[in-house]
Every structure is written in C-alpha cells, then in structure tokens.
Subunit: 430 residues, 2 copies
C-alpha cells in the first residue's frame, strides 16, 4: 500500500521526467534552428544558381548541401530519440509526432529537389516555394515543442526561440523577395505588397521575441542590429517599396541588398545560438533542482522505512482532537520530537509542491497565450480550406489579402473568419 | 532512420496510451465516487451517534465502516495502479500525484478518527469538519483528473462528474446543517447564511453538470428530482432559512428533513453510477477506435517494408516540378498506380491526424474553462493565506463572507482579490 510520501516522490519523478523530456526537446529545437539556417543559405545559393543559369554559386552550393546533410542527420537523430522515449505518450506527444510525420517526407524529398535544381529543371519561384514549405514544416515542429512545454520559464524561452526563428525566416524570405525585385529592374505592386507583409510579419515575431527573451539576450539583439546596417536596409526598402508602380529599379542594387540582408541574418544566427545555450543551461539547472528535491524526499522515505510511517491524523484533521480536552493523548505523542517534525513536514511538503505546480500551470497559460494568435490563424485557414475548398496556400493568401485591404492585423481577420463560422453553410464542411 | 509513417504510428500510439490512462483515471474517479458516498453516510451516522451520546446508530455505523473499508481498498488500489503506470510521467501526472499525496494521510488517519467517534471523544462539529476535509481532498483528486484529461468528450464527462460529486457533497453538508438547525430548535442567522451558501454552491455545481452531461443523463437527473420530494425540501428550507433570528424551529422536523435529504442524495448516487457507466463505455469506444486506426497504419507500414518507402517528393513539393514542362519524368513515375495512391495517402493521413489533434485541443480548452472558476477561487485563497497569514479555512470564510455581504458570486470576489494582488505588500508574500 502506497503512502502519501510515495506519491510525493512519484510526483517529483514525474517532474524530473518532464524536465528530461524538455531538455531533449530543447536540444532538438536547437538542431532544427541550425538546419533551418543551413537550408536558408542553400535556398539563397540555389536561387543564385538558377538565376545565373548555372554560371555562378555552383561550388558554394555543393559545400552548403554538405553542411545541410550534417544538420539534417542531427535533426533526424533528435526525432528518433524522441520516438524512443517511453514517457512522452501523451496527446502533446501525439501532436509533436504528427508534425514530425508531416515534415519527414519533405526531408526525404530533398535529394530529388536538389537534383532538379542542379539540372536547372525548376525555376527560382518553385525552388523557393519548396524550401519555404520545408522550413515551415520544421518551424511547425518547434511551435509544437513550445506549445507542449510544461515549465513556464522554459516555455517562455521556447516561445522566444520559435518567434525568433520564424522572424528570421521572414527576413530570409524578404531577402529573396527584395533581390528578385531589384533584379527585375522594375517596381511591381504585387511584389511590393508581399514585401511589406514580410516586413510586418517579421516585426511581429521579433516583438514577441523581445517580450519573452531574457533581458541579456534582448540587449544582445538590440546591439546586433547595428544602426549602420539598419539604415542601409531601410533605405533600400524605401527605394523599392515606395516606388510607384512600373518605376525603374537599379538592378545593381540587388547584390548590395542581398549582402546587407545576409549580414543581418548571420547576426541573427548568433543570437539563435545564444538562445539555444541559454535554454540548455536553464534546462540543466531545472533538472538539477528537481533531482536534489527528489533526493531529500527519498531520504525521508528511507527514515520512514526505519521508524515506521508517522501518524498524520493530528496534522490532517487539525483541531479535530482539541474538541474534547478530556481525550487521552493519542498513541503517536510517544513519538520523538523528531517524529513530530517529520509528520508535519510531509503534509507541508505536499502542500508546497501542490501550490508550486498550480503556480507553474497558471504562469504557463499566460505564456501560451502568445502562441494562440498563430493557432487562430491556422484555424481560420482550416475553416476556409474546408468551406471554400481552397488549398492551404490559397487560404493564407486570402487572409493576408483581406488584412492588407482592410488595414487590419492578420489575427484580427482570422478572428472575424472564426466568428463568422456559424453563418457558413454547414454541409460544405469536410 | 524513421520515416513519416513511423511517426504517424508513434503519434497514434501516444493517443492510445493517453486513452488507456484516461480509462484507468475514469475507473478511479468512479471508485472515489463510491468511497465519497460511503463516507458521507458514515459522517451522517457518526453525527447521529455523537448527538445521541452513543444511544443510536451504533450498529448501522459499524456496518457502514465496513462498507467504507471496501471502497477505500478499491481507491487505494486505483492510486497504486496509477503510480505503476510508466506513461503518466508528465506535469499533469505530478499534479494528480500531489493531490493523492495530500489525501492519503487523511485516509491513514481515518481509524484514529473513528476510534474517537466511537469513544465519544469528539463533538459533532469537529467530526463533521474532519469528514468534510477528507472528502474535499478526494474531490480534489477528481478535479485534477478532470483537468488533466486530454480527450474533449471524456473531459466533458469528467467535468460533469466532478461537478455532480461536488454538488452532492454540498447537498450532504446541507443535510447536516439543516438537521442541526432544526434540532437546535431556534433560528440562528450564522447557520442560515451558511445554509443559503450551501444551496447556492450546490445549484452552481448542478448547473455545470447539466451543461456538460449527456442529454440522456440530464433527462435522468431531471426525472430523479421528483417534484413531490423537491416541494417538501423547499418547504423545509423556507421554514428554516426564512425565519427571523431567534424564532423557534420545530425540532420534530429534524428527522423529516434528514430523511427527505437522504432520499434525494441516494437518488443522486444512482445518477453518479450512470455517469460512471457512460464514462467507461465512452472510454472503451475511444480506445477501440484508436486501436483500429493504428492497425490500419501498421498495415501500411508493413506494405512499405515490402515495397520500399514511396517517394513523396511529388506530393510534398506540390507543383515544384510543373514549373519546367521540359523536365524529364522523374524516376518514381515508374511506380504502380497503387504506389502513387500510397504516397498520397500518407501525407493526407498526417494532415487529417494533425487537424483532428488541433480540433481536440481547441475543444478541450473550452471544456476546461469550466474548471477555471474553481482555480480562480483557489488562487485567491492562496493569496490571502500568504499575505494575511490566514489558514485555508479562514481564507475561504473571508471570501465567502465578502461574497454574501456584497451579494456577489464567490468567483467574482476571488477575481477582485487577484486583481488587487499587485497592490498588496510584496514582502508579506511567502
């Protein structure tokens, strides 16, 4: 028959296992960050190769593919390690695995994509779209990891990390979009709109990052965004996005724009590495804390084994005895003062742990709210896909276009779509 | 190296394990319901014994203690089964175990309490308080089980179950409160207030039960509350609660009141058994569904082992090839039509599973909102305990008293307390 202290220890073991899971998840997120960065570079070099009809970037691309393969191997090993865990058998785990199941075929398909790029059998737009889709799938794994985290501090860092990675990906897409716009030599309204949207999405992500990152990392981030670079970036943005439709753009600015963006993105990669290091340190600290607490409790349990379990009636029922002053002193009053202290300490420990777990849960809900905007957009997309028989891409474009037309935020439009849901024809739903 | 389908299967296994956990949790909740019912009866008989100075209820109480012991054994076995699970190693699990750790010393202390009751060494108020505390601890386990459930349908039923059990406990407390009030033969404002509070709390619980229970159970519930019984109940409530302070009450009404309440509470026990049966059936159905799905996926996986994994490039990257009509047909077009169908089916399966999991999560958050009121009250109590150095009981009384004085709902007062939190002196916090 188990005692209260057994369950207190079991509760602590749960926390330790959950911390161990989080540590492995954090490592995986860091590995995904490195793979995404490598794929972003490969995307840029592949576009350069395609745009130059195979004349440039060939060797650099080959080297980058090798770098990608090493990162990919690390990510796949991380996936396999997760699958081997005996503990992550929860619905959170199911969501994470489902995201992994979605992205793995994309990784499997990379060699075929690379072969087509190498043989110039694909254009830059489609090559870019393929890399964007793969990176989005990888970021979805990071999102799920952040959403499934059960320690509020670690959850904060994962939310910061996800938003930073997502912001960096928008910055990468902006680099490609701008390079193509300058190279085209002429201003096009559709591309300008896409560009402005990429800037807005990026800023929203970095805003959330700043909200959830540690102060020292925020400081790093601000320092890394050197004014001299930003001035150049903003000047080029203004030149291209502010130009009237059809106006000429200086094609010579394309490589200047590309290099300016690349320096900025490489600086982001340094911040991402710091984020990963911070996450690892925090995770190790938490595990050590929980282990120390477990050890203390197991020592108590060992003392019980020697002394027999203390009678906790007095403490549990509080003043239930005080009612009758004539009542004889109960048997356990023969216990040593040490025994009394022990019996009190157990229920206090339980109460403390229970309060700590509740506080953690409350804080966690606050942090997760930051992820809800993305979920709202995803749900609105799903609704449009089902009711209007749109592809995911089309649904996203429709939301984005509406947001731009109405000068509202994407999430606000998504909320309106969800609010309208009950007026949509029910039979059209999948 | 794992494939996407491996992870799809892993995700399904997670769901199945989570379903298995839920099935065991549901059984435990049902067992706790039976123990709580038995303890409620023992509480009533103990009070009868104490009030009659040992002249009445002695034998019935002995029989009831035996019934309690059988129920207690089932609950303890359920606790142990949970502790033996290898999968519930999550923070949700930690919270559940922590609640169990809290209540076990109470169960351990029951023999001592019974001995004092049998020896008439405790008064009714303190005996009642001890049973109330123990039952509250058991209901907290049920609350945590409902809060930790990850299937929205099962979560709905558990929320219904928790609220029903909590409402029934308030009904039991009302029976005791009313019996004492009539027995005292005189109307007392403090007891009237407590009584009215118990009626209000009870109605709030049954209201939530009706919101979340299945229509057929709601129908059962409404039928079980026979008008003829309710009329008698309401008449007695009015007589006692509506009387001016100090007015005489007919002490002869005490047993009539008690029997009237008892019939109502016994009818509640039938509903609770139906709730438990429904929960079991639903849980079995879910597990069977998930197992059938897993089997289908494992068959797919076996086919892969024969045919080699299909190339999903075409599907994953969508129109990435269509870009260059001059591109040669890729190698995998040699696949049989069956192969093509297979490759499509995998990503569609993943997408469907992913959407289902997301929908489950969204619905779950809606259901859990129903549990938040209780959490708000608990947090406000914790805050008062820390800042005003009150016991849990005192904090609860303070909130309840404020609610009655201001004619506001308990949760509203709790929300005000939490909103004021930042104005409280920080250094007083524990």
């Amino acid at each position: 028959m188990s005692t209260g202290l057994n369950f207190l220890v079991a509760a602590l073991r749960c926390e330790i296992d959950a911390q161990g899971e989080l540590a492995r998840t954090s490592e995986l997120v860091a590995a995904i960050g490195r793979l995404v960065h490598a794929l972003q570079r490969e995307r840029g070099l592949s576009n350069g190769l395609l745009a130059s009809r195979g004349q440039r970037f060939g060797e650099r691309r080959e080297a980058q593919i090798h770098a990608c393969l090493a990162c990919e191997q690390a990510v796949r090993a991380g996936f396999d390690a997760l699958a081997a865990e005996r503990t992550r058998r929860t619905v959170n785990g199911a969501r994470l695995f489902s995201r992994i199941a979605w992205v793995l075929p994309g990784l499997d398909a990379l060699p075929a994509l690379r072969q087509r790029v190498g043989a110039l059998q694909i254009d830059t737009a489609h090559a870019t779209a393929a890399f964007v889709k793969l990176i989005a799938g990888l970021l979805a794994v990071v999102f799920e990891a952040a959403d499934g985290a059960t320690d509020p501090e670690i959850s904060r860092r994962l939310v910061a990390m996800f938003n930073f990675m997502q912001g960096k990906e928008f910055a990468g897409q902006e680099r490609a979009c701008g390079a193509a716009a300058f190279a085209a030599g002429r201003s096009e309204p559709a591309r300008q709109q896409q560009w402005l949207q990429l800037i807005a999405s990026q800023e929203a992500c970095f805003h959330t990052f700043v909200e959830f990152a540690s102060p020292s990392l925020v400081e790093h981030w601000r320092t890394s965004q050197a004014p001299v670079e930003l001035v150049e970036l903003e000047r080029l943005r203004r030149l291209a996005c502010g130009a009237p439709a059809g106006a000429a753009l200086d094609a010579e600015l394309s490589p200047i724009w590309f290099d300016c963006c690349t320096r900025r993105i490489d600086a982001m990669q340094d911040i991402e590495a710091l984020l990963a290091a911070e996450l690892r340190a925090l995770s190790q600290e938490r595990t050590a804390q929980a282990l120390a607490e477990l050890q203390a409790h197991e020592q108590l349990l060992a003392r019980w084994a020697q002394q027999g379990p203390p009678d906790t009636a007095d403490f549990f029922f509080g003043d239930a005895r005080g009612a009758d002053p004539a009542a004889p002193p109960p048997a356990e009053s023969a216990a040593t003062p040490y025994g009394r202290q022990l019996e009190r300490s157990i229920l206090q420990l339980v109460q403390e742990q229970s309060q700590r777990l509740q506080a953690m849960n409350d804080e966690l809900e606050t942090v997760r709210a930051a992820l809800n905007e993305r979920k709202v957009v995803e749900r609105a997309k799903g609704l449009l896909m089902a009711h209007r028989r749109l592809s995911e891409d089309e649904a996203h474009k429709m939301l984005r276009q509406t947001a731009m037309n109405q000068k509202r935020r994407l999430v606000e439009v998504a909320e309106s779509v969800l609010a309208m849901a009950e007026f949509l024809p029910k039979d059209a739903a999948s």
